[in-house]
């Protein structure tokens, strides 16, 4: 069967097999940032955004995204540049092997779209499904807080500062 959908605003029209998973299709299309890691929807390394919401592409049928918008990590910054989230992750030493990072960036971007002033607990809860075996998570949490701060200071809409959790 044939499906049409957008990836990072670029239109793709592609022949797929019934039951084909989005992670397979995206990798076939060259979006190698989308990772296979667990096969059981439990690690978050294959996370992409579907119409702005984070989903696990290893448990999303490609047929179901016909006519929809998919966004992978490649869609969050231009070539030669890093987004605030990406830059903060590098600056905070939150990238070790890097295998979980594309999925983490995609999910963190979704969090920041919903909540531009998350506290530590909110970050941990939102990203609990994005496993990382290298960092111990501390630096990643700091990086996302830092990225949120940078986004807040660059956004024209004033954001109400909320209290930190204990």
């Amino acid at each position: 069967m044939k499906v049409e959908f957008k990836v990072n605003d670029r239109k793709h029209s592609i022949e797929i097999k019934p039951g084909e998973l989005l992670v397979e299709t995206l990798r076939r299309l060259g979006y190698k940032s989308v990772k296979h890691a667990c096969d059981t929807a439990s690690c978050g390394a294959c996370s992409v955004q579907l119409d702005g919401n984070p989903v696990l592409s290893c448990r999303t049928f490609t047929a179901a995204v016909d006519g929809h918008d998919v966004k992978t990590v490649e869609g969050f910054s231009k070539e030669g540049e890093l987004s605030a989230v990406q830059k903060a992750l590098v600056d905070e030493g939150a990238v070790q092997c890097g295998f979980c990072i594309p999925g983490l960036v995609v999910t963190a971007e979704a969090l920041l779209k919903e909540n531009l002033n998350p506290n530590e607990e909110e970050i941990k809860t939102y990203l609990n499904g994005n496993l990382c075996r290298c960092t111990g998570y501390v630096s990643q949490t700091h990086a996302i807080m830092k990225a949120a701060e940078i986004r807040r200071s660059s956004t024209s809409v004033p954001v109400e500062k909320r209290g930190e959790s204990s």
């Binding site: 296979h36 439990s42 890097g98």
Partner: protein, 780 residues
């Protein structure tokens, strides 16, 4: 001529320009952008998909394999069985040659020794066809009784797992003993008899999985000139090349791209032999990507170990004797069997060098379970859990603060331990005087930062929650002395950059970055001018690979030497170009500057050397072999909260104070300790493989095998002691493994502090805690 601007490493410099700064990782851009940098991201046209048919029996002889139906399937390129691959005994362990692990493995054998052992290799045009072919292969087995309990592996009447005549290097395969080791210094029984207080205990640690995010994966193909090329997610590209040649008699090039984590799990030949067999058979490129289930159940785990300990002390708190008898489960094959066990002793016992007698020994046994292998810490986390726990208990019985007791009996700068010489890895070690050891600072400053003495005054049980505070001491090593060698090549370019070629294997640790920093420091330039190419056996110089906490120390020293030689070559060339004596020149900020204030940039020098003046390419290669293995030290503090109604344990605060010498990159060094701490918390509280009665691992994914998720990790803090190791590059020692040693004992000690219950078996599961608490309440 002497290079005046390169400082002698005997004196600790007070200031560095590039070293000891937190520059960002050189591969950070590619990784955060999601670039195609991992093995499975490479597009190799016409690659066959390789799948492995695996045994469903823990122990069986293969009577026959009928692959005719699979071969008849359209799109199947080949099915290989034990009759189609060379019968060469080898070890999958990626170690220096000759390996201390027994040669007890074949690419495919007519016997299977655990559920998951390889039976046949299938290669097909697509994954779907390969999977269908697997289903069509008929195997007739003669099922044998299996050895599943390692504590009874060498009992009489147990089936023999390795009865094949070709194997070598195993201690007593007829009794399922892969290796055996014992040593003693002094008379342990006599010293224990003389001790005022003796404590005994038996401790268990589980078969933890590495659970690196990228599964095992390799691709092989013939390059246009017919040279076999293997792209592999490996920590040991040079050992892979050597082992592939041993098995198949074929020369190859091994390329390691970025790796999605290893932690020791990729210090072995897992996938490379399978894809090589297919490429040699078919002439086609071959790709094999392990599933998560295969990575969990058919690669390697940490060696599960049991330690029976006896320790004795005098009333005034002097540790007199340590008797440590171990038993280690190496599973179906003896990968890293002897060496992990020896490290259990050699990376713990020297810490307490004041004792009068030490005894250490035991068997490493074969069982019909998933093979164990190298895993960060390499035996030390297992033994540190046992030893530190029992010393905590001894301190308690002496009425001493465990910090005081452990400090009183631990090693200091300028001291040695006879263990260094007695125990190496698979053989004798080397003598060494400890030249950097800030364990006292780690303990005392750590206690201050953690607020130890104040916290210990707090009430432990309040309503349904209990709080406790524990401390653990650890040491590790930096490389395997007199064995580990690494090389570094530096080439100067006419644009002012340098290529640094190293065999050193960055598996996410950041070694490419810290090696660039070391080169930049020596060459008075910035890290962005050092372009690193690592781990391509056809291009980079040899390096033993990423293991044994050796990269910073060995590859770092090799890089420093190469950079020093390059600095000398630059000064020499500049001296000729400028007609100034070399003594009047120095390197500064990417230039050679003379006392008369004339200067030449690196770019100007190499441009002249290319085109117009004594034409030559500046390029140097240096090697480094470690003579000693300077231990890093660490003291960690844990605060736990126990829910008395459910038994759930939370580690609220975990602080580590680390002596790793100069941290070449403090941010990355901190990341190493934080990550190891999380893995240690996993080992302490969650991680264990559970098998059914037939030996099949049922914890084969991330739902059933729990690694710490974000919400499980509360506060982790890492501080560094001011320390300088004279033999290390710019004073550095290792930092990657030691962080895994302390979490389990610190948490277990904190649990004892909270509720008075000694947990001696990991992981400390909520249900076990629940019943421990119930019994505790009953006995009140």
């Amino acid at each position: 001529m002497k290079v005046s601007n390169v400082k002698s490493s005997a004196v600790a410099p007070t200031e560095f320009k590039v070293v000891d700064t937190s520059v960002s990782k050189v591969d950070g851009y590619a990784l955060t952008k999601g670039k195609a940098v991992f093995t499975d991201d490479f597009n190799i046209p016409n690659a066959l998909v390789v799948k492995i048919l695996r045994s469903r029996h823990a122990h069986a002889i293969i009577k026959s394999i009928d692959a005719s139906k699979a071969l008849a399937l359209e799109g199947v390129a080949c099915v290989l069985t034990h009759e189609d691959v060379p019968r060469v005994a080898y070890t999958r362990a990626g170690q220096g040659y000759p390996e201390p692990s027994p040669y007890d493995t074949f690419v495919l054998d007519k016997k299977v020794r655990y559920v998951g052992d390889a039976v046949a290799i299938v290669a097909a045009e697509t994954e779907e066809i390969a999977n269908r072919a697997l289903d069509l292969i008929r195997v007739e087995y003669e099922v044998l009784p299996a050895v599943l309990d390692y504590e009874h592996a060498s009992d009489p009447e147990m089936p023999v797992i390795h009865d094949e005549p070709e194997i070598s290097g195993a201690y007593d395969p007829s009794r399922n003993i892969a290796n055996h080791y014992e040593m003693h210094i002094g008379d342990v029984d006599e010293e224990l008899a003389k001790s005022d207080i003796v404590v005994e205990g038996t401790y268990y640690t589980p078969n933890q999985s590495h659970a690196m995010m990228e599964t095992h994966v390799a691709i092989s193909y013939f390059d246009p000139n017919g040279r076999l090329t293997i792209i592999s997610s490996t920590q040991v590209p040079y050992h892979v090349r050597r082992i592939i040649r041993r098995i198949f008699g074929v020369e190859s090039r091994v390329i390691k791209p970025r790796i999605g984590g290893g932690f020791g799990g990729k210090q072995a030949v897992h996938v490379e032999a399978y894809v090589t067999a297919v490429t040699l058979k078919t002439g086609r490129p071959a790709r094999c990507v392990y599933t998560r289930e295969e990575t969990m159940t058919a690669s390697n785990t940490r060696h599960a170990m049991r330690f029976k300990l006896r320790v004795g002390a005098s009333k005034d708190g002097k540790l007199q004797a340590i008797d440590m008898q171990g038993l280690s489960n190496t599973g179906a094959y003896g990968e890293h069997a002897l060496t992990t066990f020896m490290v259990s002793g050699s990376k713990t016992l020297p810490l307490y060098n004041k004792v009068k007698a030490v005894r250490f020994g035991g068997d490493i046994v074969y069982t019909n379970t998933e093979p164990a292998g190298a895993f960060r810490g390499y035996g030390a986390p297992q033994s540190t859990f046992a030893l530190d726990s029992i010393l905590d208990e001894l301190a308690y019985k002496l009425g001493m603060d465990p910090i005081d007791f452990k400090l009183k009996n631990s090693i200091r700068e300028g001291e040695t331990s006879p263990i260094f010489k007695v125990m190496g890895e698979g053989r004798e070690g080397v003598e060494q005087i400890v030249q950097s050891c800030k364990i006292e600072e780690c303990a005392l400053m750590g206690a201050k930062h953690f607020n130890w003495y104040e916290k210990k005054k707090r009430p432990r049980i309040e309503k349904t929650k209990a709080h406790g505070y524990g401390v653990a001491f650890a040491m590790q090593g930096s490389s395997i002395p007199a064995i580990d060698m690494g090389g570094a090549t530096i080439k100067m370019n006419d644009d002012g950059t340098f290529n640094l070629m190293v065999g050193a294997t960055d598996l996410g640790t950041g070694s490419d970055t810290i090696l660039a920093q070391i080169a930049a420091e020596v060459l008075h330039t910035t890290t962005d001018k050092i372009i690193v190419y690592s781990s391509d056996t056809d291009i980079t110089p040899f390096d033993k690979g990423a293991y044994a906490s050796s990269t910073t120390y060995v590859s770092g020293n090799a890089t420093k030497r190469a950079a020093e030689k390059m600095a000398f070559e630059i000064l020499k060339a500049a001296s000729e170009i400028m007609s100034e004596p070399v003594e009047k020149l120095h390197l500064e900020n990417g230039k050679v500057i003379s006392e008369s204030d004339r200067s030449l940039t690196y770019s100007e020098i190499q441009t002249k050397l290319f085109y117009s003046f004594k034409q030559r390419q500046l390029e140097v290669t240096e090697s480094f072999v470690s003579e000693v293995s300077p231990p890093p030290y660490m003291v960690s503090f844990a605060e736990v909260e126990i829910d008395l109604e459910t038994g759930k344990v939370d580690v609220l605060n975990f602080l580590s104070y680390v002596d790793c010498g100069t941290p070449i990159n403090p941010k990355l060094a901190r990341g190493q300790v934080e990550g190891a701490t999380a893995q240690g918390i996993g080992m302490a509280l969650y991680e264990e493989h559970v098998s059914d009665k037939n030996g099949r691992i049922v914890t084969n994914d991330f739902f059933t095998y729990k690694i710490p998720a974000r919400e499980d990790i509360k506060n982790i803090k890492v501080e560094f002691a001011k320390s300088y190791e004279p033999t290390g590059p710019f004073g550095a020692k290792s930092v990657s493994e030691i962080g895994l040693d302390t979490p389990a004992p610190a948490i277990a000690n904190a649990i004892f502090d909270a509720i008075g219950v000694r947990i001696k078996k990991l992981p400390i599961k909520s249900e076990d805690m629940f019943f421990a608490i119930k019994n505790m309440v009953k006995s009140l």
